[in-house]
Subunit: 130 residues, 4 copies
């Protein structure tokens, strides 16, 4: 799924390029858009507790201050017993790639924080986003 | 080096724990504190261009809303020909660990973006923070 | 001018509505969009120094977590000798208003921070955005 | 009450001074520190719903990139029937003032959003922070 992210003035830092932290924020918003497209929206997630266990990102090319929008291509690449993995590519409309990233998500019981197994229903749903 | 990070209300998200993106911001501030302790401060860095090539983080334990401060232990773990690697551990005063992370930094020429080799002087300096 | 602002997960706080600080960030982005439409874009502004002297905002109605986008209507309402004033209305596609805000901007010399008079050219330009 | 705010790299924008939005975030954190000192902490506030009805701020003097900390002096200046007003002064250790600000807070019923009257107990508590 391709998610368009509108950049903000605050995403650019004193070095006058897109700050490395903002990319991680965009991963989050692309991920929410993906989960919403599977009917696992923000209000639902507040209850169920899909949390990030691991993030990693390779920055390939700086993004200049006149950039107004980036595309984050996000997809599910793996669904395990108790976690699933998402892969992201940051690009622009001309196809130039700026970063590549991965997230491992786990599902936890909101009250106790205990990691939950991924149900067959959730697995089937997530695999739709592969 | 241990850097104390003051948490803000905005670091906590609608799930009412410390948001995964804020940790990556804290890596940045711990890194700047480390580089400043080596006399490579913010104003200097604006000129020289130490940029993040890679970030990765394992979230070990959620941080609750009543937490006011975290400690980020940060050190240089490797200095290569054109990059250096930093390792971070997030903990509190009782020694409980919340996350572990790594950054690969490269030095680039600000004008052209070309990756620069790490000079012997910079290598010696960075190795002091091991 | 109407500027569409894409909301992010991080704009919503632990109270599960749009945090009051994010609105002020949106004022900033709407203002930049307005100035860009007048050919006073981000790179230009880095040189010239239009800075915020005063911000004020009335929050009229909370914005819920399922909201994906807000419209910020922004216009120049006054151009003085050394400052200009912008007014903002936050609304959604159905016309419901969420907030109203004002900013007073001054133009400063980047090096010295001295406040500059608004030139006739800039005044004419800004008055186009009334 | 004086609250010390630790500045972050991300608080400084491409103009290389403290961004106007960050001040509004610091108002929020100073306010929480004040309310916590009155035993109205974050977890409590999630339940009760003290929300911002109005913010205003005058920026007096830019804050440069080498600044690591600001002091926000915050106090209750007025308690009305259904709202209370806080005043803030931003300063550094040498007493130089960078900004002055005001917030009007209202107490709302979390479920319905209806504005609540300020109880005598809350009024007495808030007046302690005058």
């Amino acid at each position: 799924m391709q998610v368009r992210i509108q950049l903000r003035w605050s995403d650019f830092d004193a070095l006058r390029h897109l700050n490395n932290v903002s990319y991680v924020e965009f991963m989050q918003d692309a991920r929410f858009a993906l989960l919403e497209s599977l009917k696992l929206g923000a209000e639902h997630l507040v209850e169920v507790g899909h949390v990030v266990a691991h993030n990693e990102i390779d920055y390939l090319k700086p993004v200049g201050m006149n950039t107004r929008e980036l595309i984050v291509d996000v997809k599910v690449v793996e669904v395990g017993g108790a976690s699933y993995k998402l892969a992201y590519t940051f690009l622009d409309d001309s196809g130039i790639q700026y970063a590549k990233a991965l997230t491992v998500m786990v599902q936890v019981e909101t009250e106790t924080g205990a990691v939950l197994r991924i149900s067959d229903d959730l697995r089937a749903l997530l695999l739709e986003a592969r």
